[in-house]
Amino acid sequence: MSRLHVVSGKGGTGKTTVAAALALALATEGRRTLLVEVEGRQGIAQVFETEALPYEERKIAVAPGPDGASAGDSARGGGGRRAGEVHALAIDAERALLDYLQMFYKLGSAGRALKKLGAIDFATTIAPGLRDVLLTGKACEAVRRKDKHGAYVYDAVVMDAPPTGRITRFLNVNDEVAGLAKMGPIHNQAQAVMRVLKSPETAVHLVTLLEEMPVQETADGVAELRAAGLPVGGIVINMTRPAVLDTEDLDIAARSARTGVARALSQAGLGGARRGGLAERLIDPLLEQAREHAERVDLERAQHAELTAIGLPTYELELLPEGVDLAGLYRLARDLRKQGPI
């Protein structure tokens, strides 16, 4: 089972929400997960409805115990039902670099001098790939970190990663840096990070909607990741909606059922079914909406088939009509968990 889950997806598909739900879903039975963000957007804080996160790992949520089972989860501790924990970290490239310098080179004052000189700014914003090495490096460090008993500090690390269009370059940047810096500490660090990212310990998941562009990007993203030798995990289909009617139903409606529908609407208390009656006048706009819906349902079925053809495990999350609040997030986590290990 993977321990580093990288969650990517086209912009607007809800990857931050899915990453947060996944971190919650993985934190059952006393497990502890770390949710990291790398783009400085404070998306995690917004999803969990807390104030902005500092560059510091902190507990952000307690995951409920396993659904239904009140006891018997003896995997860890054996003490009956235990809640899991989600910790969160907003990785800041500049701070990560200073930490890194401090850790490996004890560069107290030289580090500050470099910062004053603009070198840190250069390294984290302009120098090719350095920023990404630092961000992925920090996540990999958390994956490998062990406590004094030799047990992993985090059972899983979930990364809210850059969008699909940039994910392969973001993760593969260590290769690129390793090629650029052919030896030396940056080279070694990049190699170490790349080993974790390309190992079966890592899984890159892509979030999509059942729409043409995100599905196309998902297919392209999977191909790119595979070509780069990065382990692809699953596809999360987000914001699915139940199909109420399809075009077949509508054909029936258009052909024969108009009068019947008018009568049914009228029967349900929505006015007269005769020509010009309130119920009768509702039919055209309602049918128009139904036509749009049916068109979308057909389109979604086609997109679903394309996703299935990619041949990866898929997970589906329903659209929450009122948007995702904290309760909604827990619900998504539960839905993910029900769909088996991710």
Binding site: A119, I126, E176, I186, R241, I252, A268
Partner: protein, 473 residues
């Protein structure tokens, strides 16, 4: 709830898109916003509309969806604007489009600013090759660079720019400045020092402080990378002034009165939050904001029927259907019993399955207003079963089921509408001064000129004229 509710709030002024793109003083339109809100489609639709209204327009797209690019004939990444075929030129306009190739744009700057030998040294430098292939900020910088180039060519009277799918919509504003400040910075001078005094061998002639610094850098980066960076910086030395000047010029261009920013968003919390940041940032930078384009807004032709009432009516129908199915089953059972005299058939009528499912779905939506349904039934006028049917009357169960489906869909639509309105109102409350235009949601994606034309028409649709009415060709 009235039909007026689906139109714009009186408090949000309407963004008159046609007035904006028809005005010859408008020379640049920048479409910005967070990812996935339809920036590229909006930019392309504006381009088509402007061209067909007589402007000589060019659209600079960054990362268009494949089929959209194909529809405009710009699937080739050659960094040169191409005329878009199929655009109506009756009004004397034309449309060109191009897709940004950032590496090529960067290469062109180098080639344009350095002599051949120096240019080659830069282009072959491994550090440059990674930098130009698209790391943090390069795409944003190159988009702005290309905008400057297109403007300088003065071949078009309207340039419409899409912005890169950045981690933050604000990145492209910062990129030129960031690159500029880096190139002007002290760090560059430190890096440059050894190269200036004689390349690799020059290190040892540096003063102690400087050598300690470069020593540290060398330890961190590895000697070879540091040398690549130094050579790169040295080779670029003569171009720095040029870079800075260009970054400044682009920045001023964005502030110029001929520029109009359009913030694009979808009626969702995150997208509108980003839009609000952007509005504030543009004001702080004194950049001219034309307004907000709110994409994928849902409307309803039956907004007089509330979600609650629709659900209650659906539930009434479901109850009826269940009762009828039960009666039918009983009757059938009775009939069978009298015929065969033995085994009653417990199977439900064919309608019971879907109906039960519908009832369950209703419960999940959680809004049931029994009173509403009953109050409504007092006003019933056309319950007569003798209503003339032009077609053979369908089985009642299927018509009722269909009606239930229609009502449930409508309730869902009205809930979406309400949520979108709340989100939009929050933005309008924060920024009542920002003009807004709303673009009705389409069921599918747009990937041809006809689709872009339809979007353009929706962009320009006066909310007072036709509330969500389909655009006339």
């Amino acid at each position: 709830m009235t039909a007026d509710d689906t139109t714009l709030n009186a408090s949000a002024p309407w963004l008159e898109v046609d007035a904006l793109i028809d005005d010859p003083r408008t020379r640049i339109v920048v479409c910005c916003g967070s990812g996935g809100v339809g920036k590229t489609t909006t930019a392309a639709a504006l381009g088509v509309r402007a061209a067909e209204r007589g402007r000589k327009a060019v659209v600079l797209t960054i990362d268009p969806a494949r089929r959209l690019a194909q529809s405009m004939g710009i699937s080739e990444l050659d960094n040169v604007p191409r005329q878009v075929k199929g655009v109506d030129d009756a009004a004397g306009g034309e449309l060109h489009a191009m897709m940004l190739d950032m590496k090529r744009t960067f290469d062109e700057i180098v080639e344009g600013h350095a002599d051949a030998e120096r240019a080659r040294a830069i282009l072959e430098n491994p550090f440059y090759q990674s930098l130009s292939a698209g790391f943090a900020g390069t795409q944003e910088y190159m988009a702005m660079e290309k905008l400057g180039q297109l403007r300088a060519r003065d071949e078009w009277d309207l340039i419409i720019v899409d912005t890169p799918p950045s981690r933050s919509a604000l990145d492209f504003l910062d990129a030129p400045k960031r690159l500029g400040s880096f190139l002007d910075g002290k760090f560059i001078r430190v890096l440059m020092a050894p190269a200036k005094v004689g390349g690799r061998a020059g290190m040892k002639f540096l003063n102690v402080g400087m050598s300690m610094m470069t020593g540290t850098l060398s330890k961190l980066m590895g000697g070879q990378l540091l040398r690549d960076v130094q050579m790169f910086v040295a080779a670029m030395d003569t171009m720095f002034g040029g870079f800075r000047t260009r970054a400044d010029a682009t920045y001023r261009l964005l502030q110029a009165p001929g520029t109009a920013f359009l913030v694009v968003a979808a009626p969702e919390r995150d997208a509108l939050r980003e839009a609000a940041y952007f509005v504030e940032r543009l004001a702080a930078e004194q950049m001219p904001l034309a307004g907000l384009v709110l994409n994928r807004v849902h409307g309803s032709g039956a907004s007089q029927l509330s979600a609650e009432r629709a659900l209650a009516a659906a539930e009434t129908l479901t109850e009826h259907a269940a009762e009828e199915a039960e009666t039918a089953a009983e009757e059938r059972a009775a009939a069978q019993e009298s015929e065969a005299g033995t085994r009653p058939d417990p199977a439900p009528s064919p309608a019971a399955g879907p109906v039960a499912e519908a009832a369950e779905n209703l419960e999940r939506n959680g809004i049931m207003d029994h009173d509403g349904g009953k109050n409504g039934s007092r006003t019933v006028g056309g319950l007569s079963p003798a209503a003339p049917a032009a077609h053979p009357a369908p089985p009642t169960a299927s018509a009722a089921q269909l009606a239930t489906g229609l009502l449930r869909l409508h309730a869902e639509r009205m809930q979406v509408l309400a949520r979108e309105r709340r989100t939009r109102d929050r933005f309008t409350a924060l920024h009542p001064e920002v003009p807004v235009t709303e673009v009705a949601a389409l069921p599918g994606d747009v990937h041809d000129l006809t689709g872009l034309r339809a979007i353009g028409a929706r962009l320009a649709l006066d909310p007072a004229d036709g509330d969500m009415a389909p655009p006339q060709p």
